[in-house]
């Protein structure tokens, strides 16, 4: 077992060696431009891109013609939201999204708001979910787009996407979902779920960084987008720029592997996650799950350890690559906006650690991680004035803290 152990698979994943192998020839002997129509170098590159497009589409139940390659999900989200807003502005100016969306959704919405669009940011329940009913109530005759993430990156909670998609169909409103965390981990089907636009990225599913895709529905309805990048008219004019063939091949291969192995793999990652969670929670009282207890991504568990600060804990468990909702590193001292939106108290938000299990983790790593977390949390609690006060029966909420 090698240290440190990578348990941050919601942040990025290791590129699968099979993906790397598939990519390599496209850097060297097969280096053509997919847009070169007049020689074999171009033809083989184009063929590889089209194969990858089909592989990506197959994973989400789409057709290859509905896949637009981008630089990643941030670009996909920007293109979906700004592209729809610009194209449908005569129809309306209202967009609905939710409080715990990724910044790559919230910030484009904020920009549109400055430009005169109206944005409704829905609150989420204590598990981080948005309901179709909330959306129904927020829809106006000016609503042109609903953008709700498939699964949350910090807390792993899965939204009722099919219900939201059905509602949007019924109302004739476009539905975009940021499915970065879901694609390749849990079943995603744009037809069955009524999704019109879907953002995804390769590097969260064992593909390379720098490549992603936007699914854009072609019929019922045919979705149109105002492009953000103009140029050679690549990707049906929606995203100009020479296609990064090696990355696209890698994205395709990653999707192919996921399509074939997802069912088995998600069982394995789920079992590892539950083993980690149980070993930790059975041995540490006052440890809380952030997000939905069941309806969450198989590999994600987000825990708050009362009386222990997250960043301080990360220093103690430095053999584990994890992330924390504590914002002690940022100058703002603001903990995670996602945890705050759930109504997790700030003190528990500061105490949170996200564990992201993935394809390459093993039971041995999980056992090691659990033991380390239990021993470090115990050590830090012994060092925590809050723990001491709680043991003495002092209600921490009743204390007049000297805010600084």
């Amino acid at each position: 077992m090698k240290l440190p152990i990578y348990l941050d698979n919601n942040s990025t994943t290791r590129t699968d060696p099979r993906v790397v192998e598939a990519i390599l020839p496209w850097f060297t002997e097969k280096f053509g431009n997919a847009a070169s129509r007049n020689h074999p170098f171009g033809w083989e590159a184009e063929e590889a891109v089209e194969k990858a497009r089909e592989q990506v589409a197959a994973l989400i139940g789409a057709s290859g013609r509905e896949i637009i390659f981008t630089s990643g999900a941030t670009e996909s989200n920007n293109l979906a939201i700004k592209g729809v807003a610009a194209m449908y502005k005569k129809k309306g100016n209202h967009i609905i999204t939710a409080a715990i969306e990724h910044k790559a959704v919230l910030d484009p919405c904020k920009r549109l708001e400055k430009e005169g669009y109206s944005v409704t940011v829905l609150p989420v329940d204590k598990f981080g979910r948005v309901t179709a009913e909330q959306i129904r109530e927020a829809i106006t005759d000016k609503t042109i787009l609903v953008s709700i993430m498939f699964a949350n990156n910090e807390i792993g909670t899965i939204n009722p996407i099919a219900e939201i998609g059905k509602l949007c169909k019924e109302k004739g409103i476009l539905f975009h979902t940021d499915a970065v965390q879901a694609v390749g981990k849990i079943p995603v089907d744009v037809e069955a779920m009524g999704i019109d636009l879907l953002s995804m990225t390769a590097h969260k599913m064992y593909g390379p960084k720098g490549i992603g895709a936007l699914y854009v529905r072609k019929k019922d309805p045919r979705v149109r987008l105002e492009p953000m990048i103009d140029g050679g008219g690549h990707e049906r004019g929606m995203r100009s720029g020479t296609l990064p063939v090696p990355l696209i091949v890698g994205h395709g291969e990653a999707c192919e592997i996921a399509r074939l192995e997802m069912a088995e793999e998600s069982k394995k990652t789920f079992a590892l996650r539950e083993s980690l969670r149980k070993q930790i929670m059975d041995n540490l009282p006052e440890t809380f799950i952030n997000g939905h207890p069941e309806n969450r991504l198989p590999g994600n568990i987000n825990l708050s350890f009362a009386y222990v600060e997250g960043e301080g804990l990360m220093m103690g468990i430095k053999d584990l690559a994890v992330s924390s909702g504590s914002a002690c590193t940022s100058a703002s001292l603001e903990p995670s906006y996602v945890l705050r939106a759930l109504g997790v108290g700030d003190e528990l938000a500061h105490s949170s650690i996200r564990f992201g299990l993935g394809r390459f983790n093993t039971q041995e790593e999980v056992d090691y991680a659990a033991k380390l977390v239990v021993s470090e949390v115990s050590r830090l609690r012994e060092m925590s004035p809050l723990y001491e006060m709680a043991l003495a029966g002092i209600d921490l909420k009743s204390v007049q803290w000297a805010h600084h």
Binding site: E311, G312, S326, C328, D346, P385, E388, A402
Partner: protein, 136 residues
């Protein structure tokens, strides 16, 4: 963010973790910070009332590694100092000793606040009997 060896040393082997009884007259307790801000430090000094020398110091901290290290270092420095010498400890000295990065300077400020709060608490406790005596 890479941490300095000094921070890691104090984090891994914190000095003087623990508590004195808050009700003792010769103990001064400082509790600063707030859980929702992500740092709370409790720093205590045990003072010899005859010499005014801090004979022992203890801490407990909820916070990041830099906060734990800052309070651990503070307790080390406090031992053997007089109240006046302790009052002269500045957060900048802690920043220097631990090589705290700019985003962690607030941890040293909190440690200085904790020292001052503990001294103030000790002085208040000492002042009470004097006032009572004067009132009689």
């Amino acid at each position: 963010m890479p941490y300095s060896d000094a921070i890691l040393e104090h984090y891994n082997n914190p000095r003087n973790v623990g508590s004195f009884s808050q009700t003792e007259l010769n103990v001064g307790t400082g509790l600063v910070g707030a859980p929702e801000c992500g740092d709370v430090m409790k720093l205590q000094i045990l003072v010899n009332p005859f010499t005014g020398v801090i004979e022992d110091a203890k801490f407990k901290t909820f916070g990041c590694g830099s906060a734990i290290a800052s309070s651990s270092l503070a307790t080390e420095w406090l031992k053997g100092k007089t109240i006046d010498e302790a009052m002269a400890i500045r957060n900048t000295q802690i920043v220097e000793e631990l090589a705290l990065p700019p985003v962690k300077v607030h941890c040293s400020v909190l440690a200085e606040d904790a020292i001052k709060a503990a001294i103030l608490n000790y002085q208040e406790k000492q002042a009470v009997p004097a006032e009572l005596v004067a009132a009689h």
